[in-house]
């Protein structure tokens, strides 16, 4: 193949040096079967005055393109997290559903009965039930252990994908928020009021149809800042928590830098809410 006739377009071709976004996109998405003397071609075609100028632009563009690609790939890390948390919930749910079946079935055969995964664990080792019921109970135990394994993975992964959100919400709640929003980017772009009620969509829709009060919180209810705050102040606490979590998600998405001061701000805000006098302020 003749090196002077490139089998694809150079990354700079058809673009201006000032078009940083276009150039970065071209580096990321373009292709050519064979390389060519791109520096010489760039000068020849007027993209750059000199090869040195070409390399300067290439340097800036490669950094920008790679930075964007890295960020996007790490958001793909958030997609793995979403898969993991959904799989965890699936495993817990199916473990509980099958545990109910085991409960009903074993209850018809054993004098002493029980409930849930713990009972399934007993049934799996019982000598007094048919072998098929024992293996069914073992499936429940397996699913429960799979859920635990997924939880461990999430606890390990979430701080990588969303360091501030994971630190503030705990890895599992962080993963659940990312999952409910459909990804870290989309979580980062949501207003704090939406994050506040993620997971309470049913109640929210009922509210929007005028049939229920506005929900105060969705899955963030499981956070200590809400759960361990006096019921009268939970609206304030939810709003404050949602606000800080939104900031954490944005920092995670746009810079990825860990900012421990965010945690401290949340702690102070919640302490203030809990400390203030009952009724001294109007509260939701």
């Amino acid at each position: 193949m003749d090196e002077d006739v490139p089998s694809g377009r150079g990354w700079f071709e058809g673009l201006e040096r000032g078009d940083e976004a276009g150039l970065a996109a071209s580096v990321r998405d373009g292709s050519a079967e064979m390389p060519a003397d791109w520096p010489a071609l760039a000068v020849e075609r007027g993209f750059a005055d000199t090869e040195a100028a070409y390399y300067d632009t290439l340097h800036e563009t490669a950094l920008a393109a790679t930075r964007a690609a890295v960020r996007e790939a790490e958001r793909a890390g958030d997609r793995q997290l979403v898969h993991a948390v959904r799989a965890m919930d699936d495993c817990s749910r199916t473990a509980n559903e099958l545990a109910e079946r085991v409960e009903e079935w074993a209850g018809s055969l054993l004098d002493e009965s029980g409930t849930g995964v713990e009972f399934a664990r007993e049934v799996a080792e019982s000598g007094e039930v048919p072998a098929t019921l024992r293996t069914l109970a073992q499936r429940v135990v397996d699913l429960d252990e799979q859920a635990a394994r997924l939880r461990t993975d999430i606890e390990r992964t979430a701080p990588d994908v969303a360091p501030n959100l994971a630190a503030m919400a705990g890895p599992v709640l962080a993963a659940r928020l990312v999952s409910l929003a459909g990804g870290l980017e989309s979580l980062a772009k949501k207003p704090s009021g939406t994050l506040q009620v993620l997971g309470a969509e049913e109640a929210l829709f009922a509210h929007l149809r005028g049939r229920a009060p506005s929900p105060k919180h969705g899955v963030i209810y499981t956070h200590d800042a809400v759960r361990n705050t006096h019921p009268d102040d939970r609206g304030s606490a939810s709003r404050a928590l949602a606000g800080k979590l939104t900031i954490a998600a944005r920092v995670d998405h746009y810079s990825g830098e860990r900012k421990p001061e965010l945690d401290e701000e949340l702690r102070e805000r919640i302490a203030a809410i809990r400390a203030r006098k009952r009724g001294a302020e109007e509260d939701g």
């Binding site: 292709s31 791109w38 520096p39 300067d56 490669a62 950094l63 790679t66 790939a73 890390g77």
Partner: protein
Amino acid sequence: MSDPALPEGVERHAFDSRERLATRGPPVYGEPTDGEWRAWDPSRSKLGAMLELGMDTGLAGGETVLYLGAASGTTVSHVADCCGPTYAVEFAARPARDLLSVAEPRGNLFPLLKDARRPATYAHVVEPVDVVVQDVATRGQADVAVRNARFLPEGGRLLLAVKARSEDVTADPDDVFDEVTETLSAAYEVLESRRLDRFHDDHLGVVARRR
């Protein structure tokens, strides 16, 4: 202090009264420095080990380089210190974040988040080069080198680190290395190969020239 077997820009310097390879450039991971010089640790770098072991890499300094498998940029930072335009391809996002920091202060280092098995995805950016340095830890390492031969002119150098365990965790490393040599022969002539065991277990350093 210069050494005839080393490229221009790579010298032996004394750090903590020990002679070590070094290049001139901004430090990367807290390595020992001596003025502008910073130590190039052969146990953190396959190419460093090849140089330390006295292999004839053919590097003279100032070459245009395509570096495949740049990881977090430790080795490629030294390459960029002593060479010309250096294209650094890395596939994994997390190490590439560190590679960005390494590349920022080095105007001749161009980081690319690309799959080295698919050269068409970066041939629109990478010009023909004098040297390909490759240190990828995936299966089919020799095949990656063959696919990237398109960037080298006849006689251009391939400096290749082969990790036996990436190919077949159960096979004898010698068998793996034989097979790598066989695959390479489609595009390269192997000039020299040596085990890097002193610095890197189960690794082979290969110097080859484009046919």
